[in-house]
């Protein structure tokens, strides 16, 4: 593929970007004849803007933000496609130690709902809404945090004040008291725990078991013009996900992420990887993390509508179907020997309040 410009792939400093870093540095992309350049961005806004204006071809992305950008909720509608899931789980809900102590009382509450009710009691006793940080309004973190709080009798619009802080800065914000808690991706919750600034309350997989986390978003004009490069990109990422999922790989993957370009804290990252010691760990292949399920996109959209961010004029299944394109993954998945899941019979996973994900019947994703 000499002469072809490299594929520009955007990512943030997060452990769940591992497949892109592993695929590049282990030579998986180059074995497939693909040159890839990683671009570490300081904000999600940069990722969306660069995808929308052709300065990035593909990126690790928050599914709700991909949906928001495609629907034009943060600017003009961006022409994006989501052909693949990048990771599942891995986020923690972390609070300052005194909050954890206050809600624990004599006996630490067990289970997401008991913890939520205990936190609710503490929140309702505060004179002003305490500040919680998420990494973006249109993030998995924000939607899962709000779902859990609401299920626990907390009004996320009135009982807390939500602020947005970049993932790599949440730990410092917690330590100096600007916020009382956060929901953020790995390894930042683990780092807060290790530094003593925060306590791990629960993982986001306790809110929605097997929930999808990052997806791969690609610029639609690029994907249309470069079907072969897209195919190779997806294959490289699928191969890297397989490597990252192996428990024995945690050491070398963590060391890879500690080097350039991500420079993540190695011990904290190691704990959050599939072979690690953290209670909430990232899934790269388990739970069909690779598969871009439309029903999951619809769940995110339903939550965004619930909070008043998506108008009733928007057809949610149609929006999900336009953005989420598992059909683009089919050939790459076949080449990597991945069995295509039966999305009708395989459940999405349950929620903390006992609900089961409403799998709107979108069968035959492949066509």
């Amino acid at each position: 593929m000499t002469g072809k410009p490299p594929v520009r792939f955007g990512l943030l400093r997060l452990a769940d970007s591992a497949p892109a870093v592993v695929a590049l540095q282990r030579g998986l992309f180059s074995e497939l004849g693909l040159t890839v350049e990683l671009s570490v961005e300081p904000s999600w806004a940069n990722i969306v803007d660069k995808l929308a204006y052709g300065l990035l071809d593909a990126a690790a992305m928050l599914p709700p933000l991909a949906l928001a950008a495609a629907l034009g909720l943060r600017g003009p509608p961006a022409r994006l496609l989501v052909p693949m899931g990048l990771s599942g789980g891995g986020n923690t809900i972390t609070v300052r130690r005194e909050v954890a102590d206050a809600i624990a009382g004599s006996a630490a509450p067990q289970g997401a709902m008991a913890k939520g009710r205990a936190l609710g009691e503490w929140l309702h006793a505060q004179p002003a809404p305490p500040r919680f940080a998420v990494v973006h309004a249109f993030s998995t973190h924000n939607l899962l945090l709000r779902y859990w709080l609401a299920a626990s009798g907390v009004d996320p619009d009135r009982d807390i004040a939500t602020v947005v802080i970049a993932p790599e800065q949440v730990e410092a914000a917690l330590a100096d008291g600007r916020i009382v808690g956060f929901c953020a991706g790995a390894p930042w919750g683990e780092l807060a725990e290790r530094n003593g600034s925060g306590r791990h309350l629960m993982g986001t997989s306790d809110v929605w078991a097997n929930h999808p986390e990052k997806c791969v978003a690609v610029a639609e004009p690029w994907a249309n013009a470069n079907p072969l490069a897209l195919q190779r990109l997806l294959r490289g990422l699928l191969q890297a996900q397989r490597l990252c999922e192996q428990p024995g790989a945690a050491d070398w993957v963590a060391h890879l992420l500690a080097g350039q370009p991500l420079r993540l804290p190695v011990t904290a990252v190691r704990a959050c990887l599939p072979g690690g010691s953290a209670t909430e760990r990232i899934r790269f292949r388990a739970g069909l993390a690779w598969y871009p399920r439309r029903s999951q996109a619809i769940w995110f959209l339903t939550q965004m509508r619930r909070w008043g961010w998506v108008g009733s004029e928007i057809d949610l299944p149609a929006a999900a179907g336009q953005l989420y394109r598992p059909d683009l993954l089919a050939a790459a998945a076949d080449a990597e020997g991945l069995a295509w899941p039966d999305t009708v019979t395989e459940p999405d996973g349950g929620f903390c309040d006992g609900a089961i994900s409403d799998r709107t019947k979108i069968s035959n994703d492949r066509n």
Binding site: S43, N46, A137
Partner: protein
């Protein structure tokens, strides 16, 4: 019109203020170093915010609408839908502009255009500096490898250089990569 400059680069801010000074309808507000973008927006009430895209707090600005129903002045990214190539140039230069929703849209494009020109010039200078720095670093790694060859293999300096060049050509690598590998295998540190 009040414009808040969210840029930590003092020189670039100085030049931009100079460029905007010609228009007396513009008041330039600066973001005090260390102050968060959101706090500055709340405190200073700008009509337009020019943001260095290298800042990580841009996501906070964009989330205002969803997260603070109580905030009377949410802010939206300025986009010229009719001029995508201008938007591309702005993003490539690393600067974005935000308008306060609810106030009449000011004519922001000339301002953004001035910012884009400045950011681009700054980027080119930066890139030139970076590549000069890289070249210097590479030269010192090659020198270090030559010294090692001269000392441990008793080569003359021209021979050491020829040896490095030959190894590079036969392995299809750059001379500096061969030099780095040699030093690494010898256990000598090179500066990253």
């Amino acid at each position: 019109m009040k414009i808040l400059l969210a840029d930590d680069d003092a020189e670039r801010v100085r030049l931009l203020i100079q460029a905007l000074a010609a228009d007396c309808s513009i008041t330039v507000l600066r973001l005090p170093p260390g102050e968060s973008l959101l706090d500055a927006v709340a405190a200073q009430g700008p009509d337009v915010v020019l943001v260095d895209m290298a800042r990580p707090d841009r996501d906070g600005l964009e989330s205002l609408r969803q997260l603070s129903a109580s905030d009377p002045r949410p802010i939206a990214l300025f986009v010229d839908q009719d001029d995508p190539s201008f938007m591309e140039a702005a993003i490539a230069a690393g600067v974005s502009s935000y308008n306060v929703i609810g106030t009449p849209p000011p004519d922001v494009k000339p301002i953004l255009r001035a910012a884009v020109a400045l950011f681009r010039r700054h980027q080119q200078t930066r890139a030139a500096l970076d590549s000069a720095e890289t070249r210097l670093q590479e030269r010192s790694i090659i020198a270090q490898a030559k010294t090692r060859l001269m000392k441990h293999r008793r080569m003359s300096e021209p021979d050491a250089y020829r040896w490095l060049r030959r190894s590079a050509m036969s392995s299809g690598q750059r001379i500096v990569d061969v030099a780095r590998k040699l030093l690494h295998e010898a256990g000598e540190d090179t500066r990253p």
